[in-house]
Each structure stands twice: as C-alpha cells, then as structure tokens.
C-alpha cells in the first residue's frame, strides 16, 4: 500500500475514533448544556496547542459480552497542550462513551498522563464527567481508581493538580478530585457524591435531588469540597486560566512575575476600617487596596466566609493572602475557617508562595456545636500549618488580635518573619469587655452601680492593653505602621525575605492533626 493511502487510512481511523460515542450520544451531551470532552479540552488550552495521545487505545474486558463492544478511546481523552503559553497535561472523561465509565485501560490512560505531568513538572488538569466504575470490569476498575489516587498523592505538593467537575463524579471517583489542590464546579452541571440519591432513597426512603445532595452550590457553600464556582463551562475555563497565571508550574519554581501595577485608586486604605472594633467592614477591600492592580483571586469564596483566602501580587510577585473577615461572624476562627486557612497555607508553602496574613478577629467561636465538631483538632491545623511553613511570612494586625486567635493568625511565635500592626491594633489576651469582667470582678460586683463600674473598667483596660504598643514593647510586633505604609512595607519585607533559608529537625514527615 502506498504511503498516501496509509495516511488516508490514518485520517479515517482518527475521524472515527474522534466521534466518541457517536452522534446520538453527542447530541444528548449537548442537550444537557455540556460540551463534549474534546470541545472542553480545546476551549481550555491555548489555540492549536492540544496534542492527544492514546487515541487508539481499546478496552480489554471480556466478560459480560464486552468483547464485542467498541469503546472509542475507552471513554477518556488525554494529552498535552499549553495554557498562558506554558505546558500543561490534561485528561477529559468522555461521557458519550459508555457514560465515561472507568475501566482498566481508561485508568491506564489517565495514569500515563499523570506520570508525564509529574515527570515533566507541569500542572495536571483533570476534567471529570463519568458515571463511575465500569461494573463489567470488576476489580480491574477498582484497581484503576487506586492507581490514580496513589499518583494524586505522589504528585501532591510537586505539581499543581486541578480537578474540573463537568458532569457526575460519584462514588470512589470523588476521591481523585478530593486529593487535588483545586476543584472547579459549574452550576447545574457538576454533581459529586459518595452515594447518589437513588441509593439514599432505597436505604433511607429519603428523597433528595442530585443538585441538593451534591450540586455545585452545595460543594461551594456547605462542604468546602469545591474551590471555584462558575455559572458556565466557559467561565470555569477562564477561572482555571486565571488561577494558572498566579501559581508556579512546580514546587521548584516561583510563580511567574507580572508587570507591576499600583492598586486601583478607588480602594482608599485609610477609609475602609471603622475605628470601633465591633463594627464590620469587608477585609477584601483592604487586600484590594494593597495588591497590584487591586487584582485579588479569591479561593473558596462561598465557603467558611469568615475567613478570606486567595492570591494577589505584591510588586509583581504572587502572594497567598489569609485574612479574617469581620464582615461575617465577626471574623471568628471555627472548624471550617481553620480548615480552609490551614490547607491554603500548606499549598502556598509547598509552592514557594509568600504568605501575607491580615488579622482582625475576636478569637475562636464559642459554642457546644463547635466544641463537639472538634474545634480543638481543626483549630490546631492552622497552628500546625503556620508553624510548619518556611516561605516568607508577613503578618499585619489590622484591629483585633485576641487570645488564641492572636497566636494562630501568623503570630511572631509561629515564626512569622515580619509582624506589623496598624495603630488601630488591639493585641491582648482577650477583648476588653471579657477581660474587665474577670480581672475587675470584685470591684464591679461590690460597686454601687456595677454597670457604671464595668464600663469604667472596660475603658481602663482598653486604654492600657487594647493597643499595639504592649506587644511592640516586647518585640512581638516589629513596627507599628500607618495603613498607608502597608504596601510599601510589604514590598520591602517580601523582597528582603526572598532568600530566606531555614530548616527544622530531620524527620520523615510530621503528624498534623488531620
């Protein structure tokens, strides 16, 4: 056969396989408001940059008549391309082929591209759209999941791993996304759960829709499993591209430096924070008044909103921001917000991203539900994460820093490199109201007018202790600064700390409270 003919044959074969599950299945996919797997990959990566591998892989199942079934590409697309002109590895499950079910060869394709990503030190993006294990392939299918989870763990902290949930992701399949760094979900399209509505109905007789059980909103607001929420697949891909502009390609690199732009003029740092520390404000306005171009990419925007985390640039360099949010629950630390901050701190530490902490919190949230939910061990995560982190750490105490909250939020004692405080800072063992009630209990109780006396004593305590100068006099705060000076000092601090080198005692790994 002449080469020309052979080339034609190749083209024919390619075309056939690229049709995935065939026209009908594609039509069905589109009617659900979803793109096909191939369309998704092409929309995600730079134009013309995608190259596919393992197009001609076929399954090897023989039981249950599987031998006669052709499953193009075995229900998954793998390949490499570029995003922001840097290489990335990607896999996308193809729901049109046997419901994107995971069989042995399907898993082998995914693990192949995972191995590539790890070896070549580039981000791995996994697009999940699968009905789950391919039951006909039995234990081989389970083995496939296991091999994927193992590689997720191996690659964790080495290369960025991103999971995009664009369809069902149920049962064991959910654990690959759960092991990765960032999970993206899309309204009405993403569904994640361990046991679906049908099983719940059979076992419990309880009826719940897929959306209410494990839809995009549920995972963005209630469970905290998702990090980014989008209204459409297009918006989701833009979010991924944006995230990738902020983070380094692997743990031996720094995030790409960007052109420096000053914060936008509309965020006036002197006008954001109310003087009365019991009045709320949006801490994100302070972040936007500090970071380049006021460009702040918030992570887990809808979950545990009393803590704000995300990426912003200081003088062109990506920093991870960890901030209490006085706007919500007065910015307290609780089970969820500790968890949220701790994981983010570990991400930043793993990927050489300096951590900037903005402090304004009344402490840990009191309550039976919190105690019983394990606020002790969850709260401990944040202490662990800060103490363990060796990247440059700069802490700015904006207003309240009381009690355990003061220690936890990147204090000097957990080895922050620089601790600055605004003149509005109140660094104390507890809030003036609570402290006065304890310290001056006798005077208050025995006074003719206890309420008057209490007010007097609260004022007295406030004046003496609710300020930054006591902590500054011990060297726990390096400088008391004007809000206006924050950005300038941050730029300087991060620049000074850029060659920071510290090492702790030799160990295999710690035993964090998770």
């Amino acid at each position: 056969m002449p080469l020309k003919k052979k080339i034609q044959e190749l083209k024919k074969r390619r075309e056939e396989v690229q049709m995935g599950g065939g026209e009908k299945a594609i039509e069905k996919q589109l009617s659900m408001g979803k793109l096909t797997a191939r369309e998704r990959v092409i929309a995600l990566v730079d134009e013309q940059s995608f190259h596919e591998y393992d197009l001609f892989v076929e399954h090897e199942a023989r039981d249950f008549d599987m031998a006669n079934k052709v499953l193009h590409g075995d229900g998954v697309i793998i390949g490499t391309g570029t995003i922001n002109e840097e290489p990335i590895a990607v896999f996308a499950q193809d729901f049109t082929v046997a419901g994107g079910s995971l069989g042995m060869m399907h898993a082998r394709k995914i693990t192949k591209i995972m191995d590539h990503a790890l070896k070549m030190r580039m981000p791995l993006i996994g697009i999940n759209d699968s009905g789950g294990a391919r039951i006909q392939e039995g234990v081989n299918s389970l083995a496939g999941y296991g091999e994927i989870f193992f590689r997720n763990t191996l690659a964790s902290g080495v290369i960025p791993q991103i999971s995009v949930i664009l369809g069902p992701c149920a049962g064991g399949a959910v654990y690959s996304p759960a092991l990765t760094d960032f999970v993206f979900v899309v309204e009405n399209i993403s569904k994640m759960f361990i046991t679906g509505p049908e099983v719940i109905k059979t076992v419990l007789g309880e009826e719940i829709s897929m959306e209410d059980l494990g839809g995009a909103r549920v995972h963005s607001e209630i469970t905290g499993n998702a990090h980014f929420y989008a209204k459409s697949e297009k918006e989701c891909f833009e979010q991924i591209q944006k995230l990738l502009s902020f983070i380094p390609w692997s743990n031996d690199k720094k995030a790409p430096k960007k052109e420096v732009k000053p914060p936008k003029a509309k965020f006036k740092i002197n006008n954001i924070v109310p003087g009365d520390s019991r009045q709320p404000y949006d801490i994100r306005d302070v972040v936007k008044a500090i970071v380049d171009d006021s460009d702040f990419l918030e992570v887990q925007e809808l979950w545990a909103t009393n803590m704000v985390i995300g990426f912003g640039r200081i003088n062109g360099e990506t920093c991870g921001f960890v901030c209490n949010q006085p706007l919500v629950l007065a910015g307290v630390l609780d089970v969820d917000s500790s968890d949220k901050a701790a994981r983010f701190i570990r991400y930043c530490d793993a990927f050489n991203i300096p951590i900037v902490t903005l402090v304004d919190l009344p402490g840990y949230l009191p309550g039976i539900d919190q105690e019983h939910a394990g606020v002790i061990r969850h709260g401990a995560k944040i202490l662990y994460a800060y103490s363990e982190a060796t990247v440059p750490k700069v802490t700015i105490i904006i207003r309240k820093a009381y009690g355990g909250g003061y220690i936890a939020m990147g204090s000097r004692h957990l080895r922050s490199d620089f601790v600055f405080a605004w003149p509005s800072a109140e660094i104390a063992v507890m809030g003036p109201e609570g402290a006065a009630n304890i310290i001056f209990r006798k005077e208050i109780m025995s006074a003719e007018n206890p309420d008057e006396m209490r007010k007097l004593k609260v004022e007295e305590y406030k004046e003496k202790f609710a300020n930054p100068y006591v902590a500054a006099s011990k060297g726990y705060v390096d400088s008391v600064i004007e809000p206006d000076e924050t950005r300038k000092l941050l730029i300087h601090a991060i620049d000074v700390a850029k060659n920071k080198q510290i090492s702790g005692p030799k160990k295999k790994h710690g035993v964090p409270p998770f």
Partner: protein, 121 residues
C-alpha cells in the same frame, strides 16, 4: 449555652455592589459585634442531652424484626429489634431492666440515623 452568640437584629450599610447588608449583633465574650451570620451558623444543630430511655438508630437502615411491644417488661441485654444497615444485621439489646413505653417502628421501616425507635418508661 452562655457565649454562643446572643443575636438581635439590626440593619446597616451596603456591600461593595450596593446590596443592603443585614448586620446582626453577635456576642463573643461579652463584646457585641455587628456582623453577618452564615446560613450554616444559623442552621447549626442545637445540642440535646442524651436521654437514656430512648433507643435511637445509630446508623440509617431498615428494621428487619421487632421482638418487643408496648408495655412489655424486658431484661437487660434482651434483644429488642434488628436494624439492617450496610449489609449487616445489627441486633439492638435492652440497655437495662425495664418496661417498654412505646415502640415507634415496625418491620420494613426505613429509618434515618438518630430516629427514636423504642422508648422506655
């Protein structure tokens, strides 16, 4: 339940996109803060002390058998019912000698976790 957040309504201010924000008073260690409350916080489960006279389902499942009925006297460790869950048949036993006040479930019932199945007098 001291210090769990004594809440009284108040209104003030707008967010950056101009939506009105409903601040509430939130008390922590005697200090009253103006802030927003999350749905999760508002919906948090109220704690209730354990009632030893209540036999609750410890796992969601199906009632396979019920061995006792209302007003029946039972001895400690006498089987009360079988609750099938996750492919296991779990026999639940009387925690002490006593009289059954009421049996709330019957064979075939599907019960969520924490359902009151049997009450002692």
């Amino acid at each position: 339940m001291k210090n769990t957040g004594d809440i009284s309504k108040g209104t003030k201010d707008k967010d950056t996109s101009g939506n009105k924000l409903q601040f509430e008073t939130f008390v922590i260690l005697s200090a009253k803060y103006q802030t927003l409350l999350t749905t999760k916080y508002k919906n948090r489960k109220k704690w209730e002390p354990v009632n030893e006279k209540h036999v609750l389902s410890f796992i969601p499942g199906t009632i396979l058998k019920v061995f006792v009925s209302d007003k029946e006297k039972v001895k400690k460790e006498q089987p009360l019912l079988v609750l099938e869950a996750m492919k296991m048949e779990n026999t639940m036993f009387a925690p002490f000698d006593g009289t059954i006040k009421k049996v709330y479930v019957s064979t075939g019932d599907k019960v969520p976790k924490g359902t009151l199945m049997i009450e002692f007098e």
